[in-house]
């Protein structure tokens, strides 16, 4: 009975211990028998990376972070275990970054040339390069930092929006509304204009089409004429036409010489007339300005008034002479 108890208890305890240990090792992915390769990378800061986080190569889980420990020179060494079959990329670097929004981090092993174009990351990689058998590493900002930056941007946007709200008051809204209304009217008018001119365009298009047809016909006629000319040149009719045209040209040349002569005479007559008119104009100008006797006579009113007064006096004198001749004529004979 006692041995049976011992046996039962021993078996149960052993089974539970084995099961629990096996489950723990399996869940923890413990490397039994050193079947995995180890890689160490160094960082200035590992953010929220923890032991047990995944190691990823080209998006595929390749191992886990086995240990994170402080090292000399202000470095943090992250030791990772990788499956034996995993091949590291050429010039490998390690990035620590968040793998989800829930605080999970992962170590991503990638090529140096595939690094993100970020000055901070490049600087971290450059600084951590050069360690013996230690990969260079960089830590990407976590979501909290990004959220803080996003919050700052949101604040700035809110600030700008506030300013826009101040600038965009009721008056601006009215003006904008009016502008929109005007634009609507303008587009309506434009639409009507386009509709109205669509007919004209059609007409123009038809006219153009007709003109093109005419051109085609003309070209056809020209071609026919050319064909006729071509055929006429072979029968001697063209010689007669050319002679007639030479005769007509001589006649035209003579006519044009006579016309040229007449035009020269006409040109000279025009010059004389111009001279005459210029002289007349000069005389008239002098008359108008009161120069010369005629000018004075025409332009001085006092002369007119004196002449008028003289005539009046002369008329009175003649009358008195007629009335009393003896007053003025005295005949004495001795």
């Amino acid at each position: 009975m006692k041995r049976t108890n011992d046996y039962f208890v021993g078996v149960v305890v052993l089974l539970v211990i084995l099961t629990l240990t096996g489950a723990t090792l399996w869940v923890k992915q413990t490397d039994i028998g050193e079947r995995r390769s180890k890689v160490v990378a160094r960082f200035r800061d590992v953010g929220n990376a923890r032991v047990g986080n995944a190691v990823v190569i080209r998006g595929v889980r390749a191992g886990t972070i086995e240990a994170i420990e402080l090292a000399r020179g202000g470095w943090v060494h992250v030791r990772m275990t990788l499956d034996r079959s995993m091949q590291l990329p050429g010039t490998p670097v390690v990035l620590l970054n968040e793998s989800s929004l829930f605080g999970e981090w992962q170590a991503t092993i990638t090529q140096r040339s595939a690094l993100p174009h970020d000055e901070t990351v490049q600087a971290q990689i450059a600084e951590s390069s050069g360690g013996d058998d230690v990969l260079p590493g960089a830590t990407l900002p976590d979501i909290a930092k990004l959220t803080a930056v996003a919050g700052q941007i949101a604040g700035d946007v809110a600030n700008v929006a506030g300013r826009v709200e101040v600038a965009f008051d009721e008056r601006a809204a009215r003006e904008l509304r009016s502008s929109i209304r005007n634009f609507a009217d303008l587009s309506t008018t434009l639409s009507h204009t386009v509709s109205a001119h669509a007919g004209d365009l059609d007409t123009l298009s038809r006219g153009l089409q007709s003109a093109v047809s005419s051109l085609n016909r003309t070209a056809l006629s020209a071609a026919q004429i050319a064909a006729r000319v071509d055929s006429s040149s072979t029968t001697g009719e063209i010689r007669q036409i050319v002679d007639d045209m030479a005769h007509a040209a001589a006649e035209l040349r003579r006519g044009s010489a006579q016309i040229r002569l007449m035009s020269e005479q006409l040109s000279r007559t025009q010059g004389r007339l111009d001279s005459f008119l210029t002289n007349g104009d000069s005389v008239l100008v002098k008359l108008n300005s009161g120069q010369g006797s005629l000018g004075l006579l025409l332009n001085d009113p006092s002369l007119y008034r004196n002449s008028d007064s003289l005539l009046t006096q002369l008329r009175g004198l003649v009358t008195e002479v007629r009335t009393n001749p003896k007053k003025f004529v005295s005949v004495r004979i001795f």
Partner: protein
């Protein structure tokens, strides 16, 4: 409650100038009795620890107690964990709708089962089964004067009766809880695959995400402390039993109640001392 009302009636009857003195005396008496209980438990613990040296007395019956208390409790522990894992995965899936990736069901099931539910639920179940069993057995021995007979024969009742039970509790509670852990996580895994839209790989990914060997260690140590407390309280209540069958029944009831309370107290104690300390 009855004690409190009787104290109030007593105080009310006294009245007059004696009232303040009477209140102080009642308060002091209650404190003394509480401290007496703690002191008695401490003395009992010390005496049990001293009796561990008498290995020839407790050795032969140790495996028997381990089988009765531990192996015999495996089915109930595994049964509780089986349904706890299923319910937990469904609850996690229900809570995570939309916002949280479903592979976190694996994380929640593993963490909750390992750290809390397997030790505490199994501990409470064993408090009823083991604590009541010990209290009833020892109480019966006490009221039937078998313990007096043992003392007369020169046996140390602590070495003969208490030590093998307490050791069985300390050793076998973690075994039962370990089996419950495995069963709880496995049932949650199967339930997630079968009842929820979670693949096996996703559940394993979530389970491995934040897994630490500390979780298992913490749960097993906690279970061991529960085993110690449940068997010790059962032994104390059993050895102090008196008044025939009624006294034995009262001892069994007290053992279950005090054990359950102490399990929750110890749970909080370990959380504050160890879990909180490990984060700092």
């Amino acid at each position: 409650m009855t004690n409190a009302s009787s104290v109030l009636q007593e105080v009310a009857l006294q009245g007059g100038r004696e009232l303040p003195l009477r209140v102080l005396s009642v308060l002091g008496g209650a404190t003394r009795r509480a401290l007496e209980g703690i002191g008695e438990l401490a003395r009992f613990t010390v005496r049990t620890a001293e009796s561990v040296r008498d290995i020839r007395t407790w050795g032969p019956s140790a495996t028997l107690q381990m089988r009765r208390l531990g192996v015999g409790s495996l089915p109930i522990g595994v049964f509780i964990a089986l349904f706890t894992g299923i319910v937990l995965s469904l609850l996690a899936s229900y809570s995570f709708t939309g916002a949280v990736p479903l592979y976190f069901v694996g994380t929640l099931v593993e963490k909750t089962i390992t750290l809390e539910l397997a030790p505490v639920l199994t501990g409470l179940a064993l408090a009823g089964r083991v604590g009541a069993n010990i209290a009833a057995e020892l109480g019966t021995m006490r009221v039937t004067e078998q313990i007096d007979a043992l003392e007369t024969l020169g046996y140390d009742p602590h070495a003969y009766l208490v030590v093998p039970r307490v050791l069985a509790g300390i050793v076998m509670f973690p075994v039962v809880v370990g089996a419950a852990m495995v069963m709880g996580v496995a049932s949650g895994w199967v339930a997630s695959i079968g009842l929820l839209d979670i693949s096996s790989a996703e559940f394993v990914k979530g389970m491995r995400l934040f897994f630490s060997a500390f979780d298992v260690r913490y749960g097993l140590v906690k279970a061991s402390s529960f085993g110690f407390m449940v068997t010790l309280i059962g032994s104390v209540r059993g050895l102090r039993a008196g008044g025939g069958a009624e006294g034995v029944g009262r001892a069994a009831t007290d053992a279950v109640v005090y054990s359950a309370v102490m399990i929750l107290v110890l749970d909080a104690f370990w959380a504050i001392i160890w879990l909180l300390g490990s984060q700092r």
